[in-house]
């Protein structure tokens, strides 16, 4: 029996769902092995009998809390899909500003979306079994996760930083050029796609175990970045992580 899978979306751009659909070559063989019962961006069916739930997006409204809890009750395995779900994502940025101020900056008025709450990660609401990180997720990593679930193997995320993949590609290091980049403290697995295209790693896959944030902060300060600027870079994706006191 192919496992029943649901893909759910909360506050996000839904780009991670799109990444799954971008597996164009693999989808025909993939759907023979899994039974997708709920995936709004792809199918009409709204099945509630899934065993594996992928949750994309963060929680930014009270009503979403209950929905997430309901999914958790039904799913044997709950997987946080993408940075919003895993880290809160860029949605966390609003937590650092008074509500009225960001509402009027973004929407031009502060009297809408009265039910909005400070952004929460899925793990702040319910226990999460596995994390598939990234903004967006890496589609091949999604495939590896599904394969792991089918074979009963815990999918292994790289436990080393983006630098390993970046240097392995023979890229010129952005920090060496005096620019900022969080690749040295961020979990690899993305193939260092941003620095490969000469854009800084903003840390979307989360801080890797054993990283030395203080040292990176000192290095960036020597390059002329202020403490506030560095803190803001870390806040792009890691605003809710327990590293803020190091910055």
């Amino acid at each position: 029996m192919p496992p029943k899978i649901g893909v759910f979306s909360f506050t996000s751009c839904e780009g991670c769902q799109l990444q799954i659909l971008n597996l164009e070559d693999e989808i025909p063989t993939l759907i023979e092995q899994i039974d997708i019962v709920n995936f709004r961006e792809a199918i009409d069916e709204k099945g509630q009998d899934y065993e594996i739930a992928f949750i994309e997006g963060s929680v930014t409204r009270e009503s979403e809390i209950e929905e997430v809890k309901r999914i958790r009750e039904r799913a044997r395995v709950l997987i946080a899909l993408g940075a919003c779900s895993h880290l809160g994502g860029v949605n966390v940025l609003k937590n650092f500003h008074p509500q009225g101020s960001w509402l009027s900056t973004v929407y031009g008025r502060s009297d809408i979306f009265s039910d909005t709450i400070p952004t929460k990660r899925i793990k702040d609401v319910v226990p999460v079994d596995l994390v598939l990180p990234g903004c967006p997720i890496d589609k091949r990593e999604f495939l590896r996760f599904v394969q792991g679930l089918l074979l009963n193997i815990k999918p292994r995320l790289p436990d080393y930083p983006v630098c390993v993949e970046c240097r392995s590609k023979g890229n010129v290091c952005l920090v060496e050029e005096g620019k900022w980049c969080l690749g040295s403290v961020t979990r690899a697995g993305c193939g260092a796609i941003c620095p490969t295209y000469r854009d800084a790693c903003a840390g979307c896959r989360g801080i890797v175990e054993g990283s030395n944030i203080e040292s990176l902060r000192n290095i960036l300060m020597e390059k002329g970045y202020s403490k506030e600027e560095i803190r803001d870079k870390f806040r792009i994706f890691n605003g809710l992580e327990e590293i803020q006191n190091l910055l």
């Binding site: 394969q147 074979l151 009963n152 193997i153 815990k154 292994r156």
Partner: protein, 272 residues
């Protein structure tokens, strides 16, 4: 041929040893015997899952063409092994490592100290010495586990315990009522044994924290550092002395170990 290619093998037996460990009996599909020494290891391969080093629990003198591996499910590879059953296929590379210097210690008193899962590799040596009993003098076994239920190979341990030719002492960290043997750490067993330090060779395997305390006891009894043997554990990927993970200072444990004398190990700052 590349040294990364595993030999196809078949599980001819799978048996639950405790609630955490299973014993796998394996034969090579090419019909050959894995000629190994006690305390050598193989690398088990499961296609799509990966590879992991596992020490061999059976002695080389056992007739037939099988080896036994005692495995606790801790990672993906060992977890996948636990889901296999008889007639399933796996891959085997090896045997690797130096193994125990069985020839050098002939005619000596043998003292074996096995803590927890340490009995898995040491069983190969215990059974070897037991099979070749006349080649050795006294045979002393100290076995420790967390709880009585965690003792590996319970029937064999009982048999060894009842064998008048083997001086066996068993302890557990904590025990429930029917337990009538020792309770406490393994070093507590040393007070029961009286050894001839000049004639004794010791083999120790256990969790990393155990070594220091056991070695201290053995040295206090006057055993020569070169006659204390340890079977260490490290991460391993290749078994070929290349991948770097098992390096302890200047040595590769997969090639120069896993058995080191304390005399060798104490010169390696990273060993203990």
């Amino acid at each position: 041929m590349s040294n990364f290619i595993p030999m196809p093998a078949t599980l001819v037996g799978v048996r639950q040893v405790t609630d955490k460990e299973k014993l796998f009996t394996i034969s090579l599909d090419n019909g050959k015997n894995i000629k190994h020494r006690p305390c050598q290891f193989v690398i088990v391969s499961i296609s799509g899952v990966g590879e992991a080093p596992i020490s061999i629990s059976s002695p080389p003198t056992d007739s037939g063409k099988v080896i036994e591996l005692c495995v606790r499910s801790v990672g993906n590879l060992t977890g996948a092994m636990h889901r296999l059953s008889v007639n399933d296929k796996i891959g085997i590379r090896g045997p690797f490592g130096n193994g125990f210097p069985i020839e050098k210690i002939e005619g000596r008193d043998i003292l074996i100290v096995a803590g927890g899962l340490g009995l898995a590799p040491l069983r190969s040596l215990i059974k070897y010495v037991n099979n070749e009993r006349k080649r050795y003098r006294r045979f002393i076994l100290l076995i420790g586990a967390k709880r009585p239920a965690d003792i590996l190979f319970k029937e064999e341990v009982t048999k060894w315990d009842e064998d008048p030719g083997i001086e066996t002492h068993i302890t557990v960290d904590a025990a429930e009522p029917p337990w009538n043997k020792n309770v406490g750490v393994i070093t507590g067993l040393f007070k029961y044994i009286d050894i001839d330090p000049l004639k004794t060779v010791a083999a120790i395997v256990g969790p990393p924290v155990m070594y220091r305390f056991v070695i201290r006891e053995l040295l206090a009894k006057g055993i020569f550092e070169g006659n204390i043997f340890l079977d260490l554990e490290r991460r391993m990927r290749c078994g070929l002395g290349k991948c770097g993970h098992c390096q302890i200072n200047g040595i590769y444990l997969c090639q120069n170990g896993p058995v080191l004398s304390y005399l060798e190990a104490k010169k390696l700052q990273e060993a203990l």
